[in-house]
Amino acid sequence: MTHVQKVMALGEAVSRHVRDGMVIAMGTGLESCIPFAAGHEIIRQGRRDLVLVGPISDILFDQLIGAGCVAKVIAAWVGNVGAGIAYNFRRAVEEGIPRPLAVEDHSNLTVALAVSAAAMGVPYLPARTALGTDIVRDHQRLREVTCPFTGERLLAVGALRPDLTILHAQRCDRHGNAHLWGNLGISLEAARAAETVLLTCEELVDDAIITGDPNRTLVPGFLVSAVAEVPFGSHPSPTQGYVNRDDRFYDEYHEETRARAGFLAWLDRMVLGTQGHAGYLSRLGEDRMARLRPRTPRPAAPVNYGF
């Protein structure tokens, strides 16, 4: 077996694996473990015409849209979870600024099933949701069908296979075998559905840490092409046990990005004007980072895999 070197710096991982026009799933954990650092690197490297996939992305999709990287969003919800509206998303849809944005609307379950169908290698999955709503009207991926067994009316959800899924995990080994804990959203389905996975993690660990607790290995390394150790890589979203949610950051972003000029200033300060994730973290400052680290450890009882 040839050993492929998967561990690399985030900048290299993005430059090797993210191409213009790709379909990319991100923010698959819903409000936690959102791969913000990877998204910022995509902005710095100036990728264009991306199709973003996610159930809800919090403000990551808004940032990529405002930076002009995105042609289309396939999602159930695009906004700022704390504050509601995401202004770049609105400007792009309503006014075509900085460029027109196509939107394929979903519910959380329909986007999850679209990705699940791809993960299972089937062209569609049936569901009972969203029937009768304006979401399904003239939808390219949602179609009303009759069940061949019962004759009931169902919704067929067409498969959606991302070119790339980007995940942020607590820890993984050099092969990309990743331990995740906390809520999972559609992260597992998105990893299985994609052509390949780019993984950022809080900690790169020895192989034995992973194989010591195999029930926690939710993403096997054979799906993963690139691994980058990126502490605080989900900031401002939380990563359980490593970083708490930076609530104030979302409020500040909401206020600052109300107008296009405010967003551009924000983008320059936090993304384009920083040389990479290290520069982003130095903008945050050590005090702020210290406040976001968990204060009270809550370790689980160890489990015994003995025989």
């Binding site: 309503e94 029937l131 919704l155 809520n183």
Partner: protein, 254 residues
């Protein structure tokens, strides 16, 4: 006067909590419904279980105040942390008794819009469904919490994101929905139920200090009031103490 210290949102939270019966499986949501769930668990529904669409299942309030369902205090001490498809499967399987929803617009038949709004003739893109369309389609019943103002209460939603009774009773069956529909709409002015024949929203109670005329002025269709229209019971001492315990700074109910 003691009631002067009680806010409309506290009335809403107490009303939401009373919609949860002991032992029920609840699709919770954030903000006021989350507080309502905490209140119900603490007071009259100690065996209620809460599901969150990100995959969290828990039987206790979060370990500390939270802004999103993915915040670390909502994971710590949970019963289970699983996937979106897992918790939504419980919903589709018919195991969720009640789901909580909000909306930018709610209409006469309890349909919700969280996708497109309009302000002074200009179309405004809202965030979209999230899990709301799924909860509205698949829970055994839903409870809607919404701020009551005329622009949010049109006769017919301009975009149907999450299904209520559509164009009236019978519509859900016609489009293929197998159960459910709104049971209550709790607003900042009153509490509505639904006419079993027509599926239309019917006003059941007005919050303390609200008049029927005031509520009608904020609603985009001629509101029907129940013959036994009452005053919404304000939070009891016990409920108020619990609300203040779970929302100590009044972030959601102040």
């Amino acid at each position: 006067m003691r009631t002067s210290a009680i806010t409309r949102r506290q009335v809403m939270v107490a009303a939401a909590a009373r919609e949860i019966r002991d032992g029920e499986v609840v699709f919770v949501g954030m903000r006021l419904p989350l507080l309502g769930f905490a209140l119900a668990r603490a007071l009259h529904a100690p065996r209620a279980v809460g599901l969150f669409e990100n995959g969290v299942i828990r039987s206790s309030p979060p370990a500390a105040p939270i802004i999103t369902m993915g915040d670390p205090p909502n994971i710590a001490g949970a019963l289970a942390c699983t996937t979106l498809v897992d918790v939504m499967s419980h919903l589709q399987r018919g195991r969720v008794d009640v789901g909580f929803l909000g909306g930018a617009e709610v209409d006469r038949f309890g349909n919700l819009n969280t996708t497109w709004a309009e302000d002074r003739g200009r179309r405004i893109r809202l965030p979209g469904s999230g899990g709301a369309a799924d909860i509205a389609a698949l829970a055994r019943r839903t409870v809607v919490l919404v701020h009551h103002e005329r622009r949010r209460f049109p006769e017919r939603v301009r975009y149907l994101t999450s299904p209520g009774f559509g164009t009236g009773r019978g519509w859900r069956e016609t489009v293929g929905l197998v159960r459910g529909g709104p049971g209550r709409v709790i607003t900042s002015l009153g509490v509505f139920g639904f006419d079993p024949e027509s599926g239309e929203m019917v006003l059941e109670s007005l919050h303390p200090g609200v008049t029927l005329e005031e509520l009608r002025a904020e609603t985009g269709w001629p509101v029907r009031a129940a013959p036994d229209l009452r005053e919404t019971p304000g939070p009891t001492r016990e409920e108020l103490d619990a609300i203040r315990r779970f929302d100590p700074d009044g972030l959601w109910t102040g």
